[in-house]
Symmetry: C3
Subunit: 344 residues, 3 copies
């Protein structure tokens, strides 16, 4: 692949930036200040990296007004360099397949499926009866779209995504490989020492602009739906149980697990590998740090944590031995306080 | 899809319930007391929801004798409403594909595979040499069944399940999308700073009535087999390492990890995201709460836990700092006790 | 399948062992001392199992000189019986498909892909434009190899592996089913309460002799690459975020999560279900025990841990209640020390 080339003038216009330097300079890629070559564009968003401004070989840099004062080379001036970088990153994105064949001859599309204009379907993909693929949907190779499921306008499934029946995905969503949506929730009635399966007859409703990372699984509801609201971003390897609701624009890092019927608010940030028990309420604007065990509702916005930090193994062994004795230690301390006080 | 409709008389007969009210009333779905419409059936299993009896619009409700005394509408009387609900839930389950084509022309079935009566195989599925699919097995689209693997009568694989070679699955099992069974256990011999692979030449034996959730992985044994006994229920995103044994009717919630050669007893309940170290023995009837770290054998039935609960981040920072000083605190307490005692 | 049979002489020659007993004895399998039959070979590596030497029915045993002194039967003498076992295990490995058809007619191979000699591609596999498969590569059924990705000599993908575009895999690697490599890293710029996607335009570079377990996901870099060096072994269900580097010969057990831009050294051993936060440095030869939460860099070799061990639930409830009071307890202890001292 030959790299895409753009002039600074083109890029400035695209993001509403101002060029300081040579507007006709062409750049052929994006890179960090440390690794950029003279034909690449870079950016400075985190002040900790300002020290690299003096040594970078980047052909041009996206800078704020303030940072630009300390730099003599070509600059794209922008009030929010990180956002500018985010938008320009798509100019060098090779991830969208450029197939000329809208529906690959090796895709298997049921004749009752509704396929809108500009839809692309990769080889080996299976589109079951009654499925609806709206305008400009892309379905990667070896995906499976279950009966009566729907993909909204512009949504895109990378290879090997599996949707069960009756799953609704909104507009402009991105689902990564290995994602499963609509699998049965974990529901069984105990009966004489065995488990009787409860059919999971709810669905999954996914809003617009949702991204779901590789190998994440989202179960269908038992009776009502599992709901992922607009703008939610889920990282890889996440587990969302039946009847969970995740509020708008909440972002959840990799390997989190959310148990059944829990409701997570809007604009939350959930750190990686955290677990949230079932039937809880998490308020809007809650920030949970990585690997936290959430076993009660969090009714107020704020930052929450649990877990014990890493220690050398020998010290850790002492810590956890003492932790087991902590209740006894508390009693001894109380007794000693009483004894000392009695001698007043 | 038009919803399935049943009369209360039909449903009562199916589950051995008694109708109180209009036996000819038809219902077209199941829902919670809060959301049911007048054409839907509901149920009351958890006393906490009894408060909704007075306001529900449900057409009929599955109730115990006792609860029915407080309700005037149409009722299906049953000694165990939750179990009755479990059984009736299947009447509205849309998950079983209704294909008229038993073996899809786009399935790839090796000519040496044994395919019994009433087997259905979805498009894109690959059945390798020597595989055996017993009566009424269903294999979803894009599944792969490895050489010489076997699926017992009535077992069902949703789309995109992968079985390696030499895997045995019992009767009436359900495997969800993204499940992998029979991958290599993690076995290497150290040699001069590198790792030499140990071929994993055991298999995986899965009993009858086992359900395995989306994206769960079960490794094959190193020499002997990995064994999942009858009636075991595994949720999503679980990891079962080589040579693990899981006893009958044990249920394990999502994201658990069980390390190599550990034996888990019968009728255990393992909370989500728990980790169980290798070479341990877990007794029958053990209940482990969510996110527990199990690093020793649990020889007696009972409830076990570990982990630290969620706190506001500032308090958590103090807690874990103090935890690191705990051994020192214990020494100081002991010294102080000695000093105070010496002044007796 | 009929089992493979070998004479002790053949096996001894293969691994540089010495036969003590009947070199013409044929064995047809490998098993543990406890379960081996008279036609099987066994081994003793862990001294804890020496007690089974007197009762084993194994036809022959791989033993060290020292252990062999206590055993009268047929022996393969080897200085490192565990390594000898590792090497002989491959003689009974049924995992390599024996297809006569190098490229299955139901594989979909883009005409611009480069397919070297002795390559085998299973049915339903999709090889996109510009992909390069070097000598003796094996791609299992229903795998997807993205545009311009490359698989080095002798590398092998089990069924249902998905590589995105621009992923480079070295020589002799093994990727298990459900593995996803090259999915987008989790990168978004906040803008007015929403998240704007940052295209992930780096790639993934995987060295030689790397093994990756079932359902593990490795994200592509944001700008630079995610790098997995030679000889790394990753177990199942692992999450590797964008721009992580994992050093040579490091082994990581199942369900670990490594957040973005963290660098892990060489020859590390990372226990299962551990989480490592982003932007950290882990030194060479670090050993992290299972379920550890690593939230700071570990600059020195050694063994590290965190977490609290399992307790009966009632005791655990007291421990974590006391842990929340620990800061207050520390203050009370300090006050009491001061008071007692003041009475000197």
């Amino acid at each position: 692949m030959s790299a895409q080339m753009y002039t600074l003038a083109e890029l400035a216009q695209a993001i509403g930036a101002e060029v300081r330097g040579d507007p006709e300079l062409t750049v052929d890629g994006l890179a960090t200040l440390q690794s950029a070559s003279s034909t690449q564009l870079s950016f400075l968003a985190n002040p900790a990296y300002a020290k690299y401004l003096s040594s970078t070989r980047a052909g041009a840099i996206i800078l704020s007004e303030e940072a630009a004062e300390r730099y003599q080379g070509n600059v794209l001036l922008h009030a929010n360099p990180y956002l500018a970088y985010a938008r320009l990153s798509h100019y060098w994105d090779a991830s969208v397949p450029g197939s000329d064949s809208p529906i690959h001859p090796n895709a298997i599309v049921d004749e009752s499926a509704v396929i809108a204009a500009n839809v692309r379907i990769g080889p080996g993909a299976v589109i079951e009866a009654g499925a609806v693929l709206r305008d400009s949907v892309i379905v990667g190779p070896n995906c499976v779209i279950g009966r009566d499921s729907e993909l909204g306008e512009g949504s895109r499934l990378h290879a090997s995504v599996t949707l069960y029946h009756g799953v609704s995905v909104g507009k402009r969503c991105i689902l990564h490989s290995g994602v499963v949506v609509g699998s049965d929730g974990f529901g069984f009635a105990p009966n004489a020492g065995k488990w009787e399966k409860i059919a999971q007859i709810g669905g999954v409703i996914i809003g617009n602009d949702v991204e779901i990372g590789a190998n994440t699984a989202i179960d269908r509801g038992a009776l009502d739906n599992t709901v992922i609201e607009d703008g939610v971003k889920l990282d890889n390897q996440i587990q969302i149980a039946h009847n969970v609701t995740i509020g708008e624009n909440t972002a959840m890092a990799a390997c989190c697990a959310v148990a059944g019927s829990t409701r997570i608010g809007k604009n939350c940030i959930i750190g990686g590998a955290s677990g949230i028990a079932g039937h809880l309420e998490i308020a809007d604007n809650v920030h949970i740090t990585a690997m936290t065990m959430v076993i009660k509702s969090l009714k107020d916005a704020g930052v929450y944590s649990s877990g014990t930090g890493v220690q050398p193994n020998d010290k850790w062994r002492k810590s956890i031995a003492r932790l087991r004795q902590l209740d006894q230690m508390a009693s001894r301390l109380k007794a000693l306080e009483k004894l000392v006080k009695s001698r007043d």
